[in-house]
């Protein structure tokens, strides 16, 4: 209750004021940059970066162990007021967001600087403001303690992300942006419908209050199905991914990196909040199996279609599709044996590690693709041959980011995979373990495909055309290394796992496991991938003896590609959305 019109001091004690700063610094940056315009836009954005990063790190330091910070806005207690809360999940996501955004900002300076004659130009003005807005929206999503605040933040995120897609104004990107916007709006309308029902049923939208009030009944099931479906449409979980490949591959490199690394994580994070914090006691094993099954579909479709792409950026976009699927494998594994409550910390921690790992690695990949594009003037995979000579650092960075995604020891993905495999064997769900292993190989396959093309000897000697700035190379490399070394950090005080669950990464078996993944990936790439004709004629080509297998592989990958094209038609995606909504709702009802 209100205390003389002043914030009740007890709840806003400690460093909790930092939470509001984490939101208002980027937000104030947006508004000031908008008013000032001109060359100040970039300066404001770049000075907000270290400030925001420092605040996020401070939040990570001041948070007492095993407790969450809470800030009541205006001093009004929920349910009437809204609160910001930082738990371990919010903190790790905010930290990785701040790191990735800062690195992207360093990278983007080369592409989005105002010309020196102090005239304002369109693309830099929009880019820096939108980047700050995405940051503000994401921090609000990570901290928001109220489902409607999350809705507004989600819309802020969408409105900032969509114009980034079509910053260069080409017809394809405009079309991709419109499709993205409309599908995202469909998703947010469904999410809002769910919050309506929740308010109608329980009289609050505050997450901690709801956790005490909700119980398994049809209202909650319908609300949960609506909200989850809406969020999945925004996260682009297969088969609701129609908008993702064109949107993420068409944007400028820095924008693609933000979109693929961070923006889809916003709605994903709300799904996690919803299931782990609002409705942990809602018995959803059947529904969670559905969710993870779609994740497996995403891994298969995303990876195989990635292997079929001619353009590097499209390949990376399809890789995002596959990695999003990976994130959803944690849901059925989060039930402790014999329980129907989402309570298993290891699975949750694994999901978060995977999300962080993907955020940094994917940003690194898109930035690398941007440098390659700048160097070659195109990003056709078949034409990558000279790039290892002209841009060795970029190819190295791409390779490191790829290794991080595959899950070499010490990377975030490695820890995530180990944790999930452990849980899968504990709960006797061998099929998800299989999916995890296959996922690693499929990831390896498209990384191998790109690296082999990049390392191939060039058809004629080539000289570097442009000089990619060292800052750009460094920014991408830092992100790749960040993903590669995430597993070395002791996450115990932020994520629900004990420090001994992360075993020593440098054992022989761990290294062998990675080697298997890469070898398997290479085989898959040879069988399913699209290869430059020059490569297949090379003396060391191994295509001749395996021609029948290759033929079968091509058939599989072509069918997958064709199916994917069908699924990406608007009405078909609509049918998928409705069907998922209904199946998910029924799956929840069944378990009652």
């Amino acid at each position: 209750m209100i205390y003389d019109g002043i914030a009740a001091p007890v709840t806003n004690s400690g460093g909790s004021f930092l939470l509001i700063l984490a939101v208002i610094i980027p937000l104030a940056g947006v508004l000031l940059a908008f008013v000032w315009g001109g060359r100040q836009v970039e300066r404001i954005a770049l000075s907000a970066m270290p400030l925001g990063l420092a605040i996020v790190l401070a939040i990570a330091l001041v948070r007492p162990a095993d407790a969450s910070l809470q800030y009541l806005i205006g001093g009004w207690m929920p349910p009437l007021g809204v609160a910001l809360r930082a738990d371990g999940l919010s903190i790790v996501m905010m930290v990785i967001t701040a790191v990735v955004i800062s690195a992207i900002a360093v990278f983007a300076r080369a592409d989005f600087s105002m010309p020196a004659d102090s005239m304002e130009t369109r693309a830099p003005f929009a880019f820096w403001i939108l980047l700050l807005a995405i940051w503000a929206a994401l921090n609000t999503i990570f901290l928001g303690g109220d489902l409607f605040t999350l809705y507004v933040a989600l819309e802020l995120l969408t409105f900032a992300a969509v114009p980034l897609v079509c910053l260069d104004g080409r017809v394809e990107t405009l079309h991709a942006a419109l499709r993205y916007l409309l599908f995202a709006l469909l998703g947010s309308a469904l999410y809002l419908a769910g919050t309506t029902l929740i308010y109608g049923g329980y009289g609050t939208l505050d997450i901690t209050l709801l956790a005490q009030r909700v119980h398994a009944e049809p209202v909650l099931f319908v609300a949960a199905a609506l909200m989850t479906t809406g969020l999945l449409a925004k996260t682009a979980l297969f088969p609701l991914h129609l908008w993702l490949p064109p949107a993420h591959s068409g944007a400028p490199a820095a924008a693609s990196a933000v979109l693929s690394a961070l923006v889809v994580k916003g709605s994903f994070f709300i799904v996690v909040r919803l299931w782990f914090d609002v409705m942990p006691r809602v018995p959803g094993p059947a529904a969670m199996q559905v969710l993870a099954a779609l994740g497996v579909g995403a891994i298969l479709f995303g990876s195989i279609v990635a292997l079929r792409q001619k353009r590097l950026k499209l390949l990376i976009a399809y890789s995002t599709l596959a990695q999003i699927g990976y994130l959803f494998l944690m849901f059925p594994l989060a039930f402790p044996p014999g329980s129907t409550q989402l309570a298993n910390g290891s699975a949750l921690a694994a999901g978060m590690l995977q999300a962080m790992s993907h955020a940094s690695a994917k940003a690194a990949m898109f930035l690398t693709a941007g440098m390659i594009y700048a160097e070659l003037g195109h990003d056709r995979i078949a034409g990558l041959a000279s790039i290892a000579r002209t841009l060795p650092m970029s190819v190295l960075t791409f390779g490191l980011a790829g290794l991080a995604l595959i899950g070499v020891p010490a990377s975030g993905a490695y820890c995530a995979k180990n944790l999930l495999l452990g849980v899968a064997s504990d709960t006797a769900q061998w099929w998800w373990a299989l999916a995890l292993q296959a996922g690693g190989m499929l990831t390896a396959s498209y990384v191998v495909l790109v690296i082999v093309h990049a390392l191939a000897p060039p058809p004629r000697p080539s000289v570097p055309r442009t000089r990619v700035s060292h800052y750009q190379e460094a920014a991408a490399l830092v992100l790749a290394l960040c993903s590669l070394l995430l597993g070395l950090i002791l996450w115990g005080s932020y994520l629900p796992l004990s420090d001994d669950t992360v075993s020593n990464p440098l054992t022989v078996s761990a290294l062998l496991g990675t080697l298997w993944s890469i070898l398997g990936g290479a085989v898959l790439a040879i069988l399913l991938g699209r290869w430059d004709s020059r490569l297949t004629r090379l003396p060391f080509a191994i295509f001749a003896p395996i021609r029948p297998a290759r033929r079968a592989g091509l058939l599989v990958s072509r069918i997958t590609e064709e199916l994917d094209a069908r699924l990406r038609q608007w009405p078909v995606a609509g049918v998928c959305l409705l069907a998922f909504l209904i199946v998910f709702g029924l799956a929840l009802n069944v378990m009652r």
């Binding site: 405009l174 419109l178 309308a189 809002l192 309506t196 308010y199 295509f543 072509r558």
Partner: protein, 114 residues
């Protein structure tokens, strides 16, 4: 049947209609319209909840009403952005030719090498 219940049912039907239109309409402007119908249907659901929450001398619960006002503003911003995108897309497409041709070009692919 009370006015509130009726409004709630109307809201549910509007949401269904909007959903249908959003999925089946090929014309983007019609999709934008359908999104607005869907949105207003969802808002009406808030309306019934607000009305049924009348208490303490208030004729309705003010919280859902305020949420609807915020929602209407956000939906308008979405509509404005979508319309601007659509108009620009239309302008660019008229220059390039039809969009179907364009997407046909990008999707066509050559043979694979065995």
């Amino acid at each position: 049947m009370s006015a509130a219940t009726l409004a709630g049912l109307t809201g549910a039907v509007l949401a269904g209609l909007g959903l249908y239109g959003l999925i089946i309409q090929p014309d983007p402007l019609r999709r934008i319209l359908a999104f607005n119908v869907l949105g207003s249907g969802v808002f009406l659901l808030f309306g019934i909840i607000a009305r049924r929450g009348a208490a303490a001398g208030a004729l309705a619960d003010p919280v859902p009403q305020a949420l609807v006002i915020t929602g209407i503003v956000v939906a308008f911003a979405a509509t404005a952005l979508a319309v601007a995108l659509l108009v620009r897309l239309f302008g660019e497409t008229s220059r390039v030719g039809s969009l179907a041709e364009l997407s046909g070009q990008t999707r066509g692919d050559g043979a694979d090498d065995l």
